[in-house]
Symmetry: C2
Subunit: 198 residues, 2 copies
């Protein structure tokens, strides 16, 4: 069975892949808006992990709207949520049996409610899986420590594979670096270098 997993190159989506790959032929899928080439960081991480990779083009209008919303809100939640939902829709359009993401039990954003999940499944004829939805932060961190080699730090210094980098760029173009810092204060990011040494 083929599964498309939304992949950022970070620890959560990578761990989700490890949970799924006993059961599915996992393809790592990264959305891109055409703003920057940061998706290439996700492609490189996928290559190091040995998974097939696919970049999926997202709608530039969604990025513009999300960036404007984030500037207006002064925080990223609603914009990130909107983009995540859009990326899931695009992944579900691929020729796969299932789509998945790395959302965790304790995440405030993005979240996919049971009703949203069922709607996505019904409209696209796919299963939607969030294998970390039943894991808290501590369990995820322990499993990441045991299984992955991860670089963590402030967003500005860590390679990012997903659309967050593109949204930051759009916000910077309109509002400068200060706008980015206001929307994403102290935001910590992770980037997976590979598997942990045995």
């Amino acid at each position: 069975m083929d599964l498309a997993l939304l992949f950022s190159g970070g620890k959560d989506s990578t761990l989700a892949g490890l949970f799924l790959d006993s059961f599915y032929d996992v393809r790592l899928v990264t959305g891109r808006f055409g703003v920057t080439d940061d998706w290439e960081h996700a492609a490189a991480a996928a290559d190091r992990l040995g998974y097939p990779f696919e970049a999926v083009d997202l709608d530039r209008d969604v990025a513009e709207e999300a960036a404007a919303r984030m500037r207006e809100d002064g925080y990223p939640r609603n914009g990130i949520q909107r983009v995540h939902e859009h990326a899931l829709e695009r992944a579900a359009d691929l020729d796969v049996d299932a789509v998945a993401d790395g959302t965790r039990r304790d995440d405030r954003v993005p979240t996919v409610s049971r009703a949203q999940a069922q709607s996505l499944e019904d409209r696209h004829g796919v299963d939607y899986l969030s294998p970390l939805a039943g894991l808290g932060r501590h369990a995820v961190d322990r499993l990441v420590d045991e299984n992955l080699d991860v670089e963590t730090g402030p967003s500005a210094e860590i390679p990012k594979g997903d659309y967050e980098a593109e949204l930051r760029e759009l916000i910077a173009r309109e509002g400068g670096r200060e706008a980015v810092d206001r929307v994403f204060p102290d935001h910590e990011q992770s980037y997976v270098r590979g598997f942990a040494d045995d």
Copy 2:
């Protein structure tokens, strides 16, 4: 890392075990009230699957209260929920790093809210994982079909490993077969015979 997984011998808890056993030393744990020996069905299933097994004694008072509640309600939800929470507490008292169960996204009962999960984790110093919490019924059924050899049918005809059989027996002692049929109409059960043939 050691993990105690609440195990009934049915398809959901078995599939949860398959999701976890790449990451943890999984021990299958079945609660028993001392009413019947049905936990031995779970022990037999665990043996066929090749997992370590442990029976954990539950509080008989909890079973009596749950059976009375179910008779009064006319449906099993609240009683099953109470017993599941009690069993999780007992599993979390074992010398393990984590506890888990087979609750699914679309289950109405038992459910473990985020707040309940965090409380269990904080009080016992364990992680709580529900690896099927992000999977819907269709995804679970497909994965079970691909990976397990399962017998399904009405509860009365399928071997049951967990405390449900004991609760049915307690209800029957007080209210007869009619009371059991009223509380559990058309209840479908599964029992895992082993792995699917490759």
